[in-house]
Symmetry: C2
Subunit: 400 residues, 2 copies
DNA sequence: TTATTATGTTTACCAAATAAACAAATTTGC
DNA sequence: GCAAATTTGTTTATTTGGTAAACATAATAA
């Protein structure tokens, strides 16, 4: 029998799918909003208050949320019970870099409980990096209070990642090629591991808990040490593409200039907007993004201003393209790109408008990311929480 | 009470939503696949065959589908009943151009029943164009067989369109600005009217019934008389953006060249890949896309070859960007862009690969559109069928 | 203090999907 | 050519998630 063309329609739904969806919906609302009253849940979902009671009880029995009476009534009528994410449910975030490995613990609800960073003296092999990560995870795991349950590990990789089987295709900055990272880290820790590109993860974090919150069509650009990556939220869902490589916004070509980016493509945003050239003109070496930002905002040098203008213009041209393509309601800039934005917001906005259609940039909002150093910790944990949030009834949590 | 951050989660689901989804699913499957057996429907949806019986009966009672016994058994076991889209349900497609107005009638299932084109002697005002369209709709409507029911009218506009209220923001080729087209045509015909950009509609048509069928991540480029437009299918759903202006792929900047496109942006794909300059170098004037394609594929002139190479290179650079951004499994080219593709497929593919990351273009398929002159008729009707397909139980159809 | 309002909680109910049982129509095997 | 195997159609009883109604409860408002 020929298979049917499903044309983007997902499968048929039955009662199980219905229940799964509603449980997932409640848990996501509690996760992203912190503490939520049952009455808020009824209005937000449109479901009957009996149903909300039932769903919340179900999640509470699974110890995913805590339901308690309100301690501060807000208005007329009986106070509504408050539902909060359980602080006993956590996930680990792992961020391997060429000079360090960072591991964090984040609760359901997005609070960073602890973080540990281990400096490295040379660019790590995958084996070395996995061993370091596993050691830090193990340390943090032992310090968790009794009763804590673990959703898994989310790894933020500075490179291209195939999410389906957890293989790092190419991470130029680390020198990794075709590394089955998820499998390796699962073996070392016994926990389920999900991996993704760092910029995609940053995008999801800013969308869920940061500057892009509530903007269901967001274009996100992140400049890490390994170049410029991106992420896009389309109607509230992250753009992934057929194999998960979508969102390589830094490698989009905008000019005929011959300069190449870290992947050998010329005229791209990444080739024109370079952190290193800014550091050089400011005579800063090994500065953090915070230090760089201070220098940018206080510099009085004409040469620096010239360079900043060039970079803002290039960034604006690139963002104009994305406005034409995505018609977003928000653009969020992270890493040192946020400093360019803060340096001359007006110039950047003008450049964007000049290189996009008028209608597409109406009511467009541009912001800097606000999660700072917690960005990849929160995002990595978000990745690890994914399966729990999508199917709360089926997810299996590990004990501490 | 503060409103909750819904974070891209849609509302709670109840029994009604479940039923609506399943009815919609069945109707869409029948619509896009033509004739489908009930057993195919059970396997495609995962629903029980009792449920499928019930859903199909429901749709049949509403006279949206026809259920009949199979006339040619395919294998072991009792032959499965066949469900077909009702040919009595139709929609109109309207395509206003600067030198003509075209109206078509298309059945559920995507068959073009009739088409009528009225040449115009001058670029029409919105009023004139609406009057012409209404007249043609009325003519075709009277010729429809008794019992035919009409879902509505879909209008393909060569310009930027705000779908929410049916206003044409800007259609440079027609000289229209801020025209409440949907309202005007509804008043003139008494039928519900939906409007959209021509390239978006072409994209939807090729995805539902043409070359992009089954490719859930498709980038589509369409070169009409009014420049280059685009459309993108992301996980089976068309990219719309916050106000519906997404997909302006022709206005994406890829080079520093000063040449401008029809919207005044420089270095864009549309400014570098121009139908007019090809026509000029071939000394063709007023040729159709079909005639242009023949000339391109048979020309022996060095100058023409040079120009074709330049245009293919520019198109390839632009498509490379889209590969980096969307990681699609298919790219579909329509209008004279299909001729460029056919002229030198290998060169285009090489240019795309040169300007995109290796992983992102793996297993990428490039095709020409296959719906030809029916493209905008089928797509326009698809637009008009939208509400019926999304909620078969609630849709109201007009009589012929 | 009482009325009003909003929510909590329990109970009976509804309807959509399903499983089970049997019927029917085809192919396969002899 | 006929019985067996297979697949689907159809009917019936069942399951279950969401809902509406009724009443209880805890706040504010009068």
């Amino acid at each position: 029998m020929e298979s049917l063309n499903a044309a983007g329609i997902d499968a048929g739904r039955n009662r199980d799918a219905l229940r799964q969806h509603n449980l997932s919906l409640i848990l996501k609302l509690v996760h992203t909003n912190g503490s939520v009253s049952r009455s808020q849940l009824t209005t937000a979902t449109g479901l009957n208050r009996s149903t909300i009671l039932n769903l919340v009880n179900d999640l509470a029995e699974r110890k995913l949320v805590i339901s308690s009476e309100s301690d501060s009534p807000t208005g007329v009528g009986r106070p509504s019970h408050v539902v909060s994410p359980s602080p006993e449910v956590v996930a680990f975030a792992v961020h391997p870099e060429f000079d360090s490995t960072t591991v964090g613990v984040v609760t359901l609800g997005g609070r960073v409980l602890a973080r540990r960073r281990e400096p490295l003296h040379s660019a790590p092999t995958p084996e070395k990096s996995v061993a370091e990560a596993a050691r830090l995870v193990s340390e943090l795991r032992m310090e968790l209070p009794k009763g804590t349950r673990i959703a898994g590990i989310g790894v933020t990789v500075p490179g291209q990642v195939r999410g389906t089987d957890g293989v790092v295709r190419l991470a130029p900055h680390l020198g990794w090629v075709e590394v089955p990272l998820a499998t390796m880290l699962t073996q070392a820790t016994g926990l389920p591991v999900t991996i993704d590109n760092d910029a995609s993860i940053g995008c999801m974090a800013e969308y869920t808990f940061g500057s892009a919150r509530g903007f269901e069509n967001t274009v996100y650009l992140y400049a890490g040490s390994g170049g410029i990556g991106g992420g896009v939220i389309v109607d509230g869902v992250q753009l992934r593409g057929v194999a998960g490589y979508a969102g390589e916004l830094g490698h989009v070509r905008i000019s005929s200039s011959p300069g190449q980016d870290y992947s050998g493509l010329s005229g791209t945003i990444e080739s024109l907007v370079q952190r290193d050239s800014l550091l050089e003109s400011l005579k800063l070496y090994g500065a953090t993004d915070e230090e760089l930002e201070v220098e940018i905002l206080t510099s009085r040098s004409d040469a620096v201003r010239q360079l900043l203008h060039e970079q803002i213009d290039a960034l604006g041209a690139g963002l104009g393209n994305f406005v034409n393509i995505f018609n977003p309601n928000a653009i969020v800039l992270d890493g040192f790109l946020a400093a360019l934005f803060k340096y001359d917001e007006g110039r950047l906005l003008n450049r964007i408008r000049e290189s996009s259609l008028a209608a597409s940039s109406e009511r467009l909002i541009i912001r800097a990311g606000e999660l700072g150093s917690n960005l990849l910790m929160i995002g990595g944990a978000e990745l690890a929480f994914g399966s729990l949030l999508n199917d709360p009834a089926e997810a299996v949590l590990a004990n501490r």
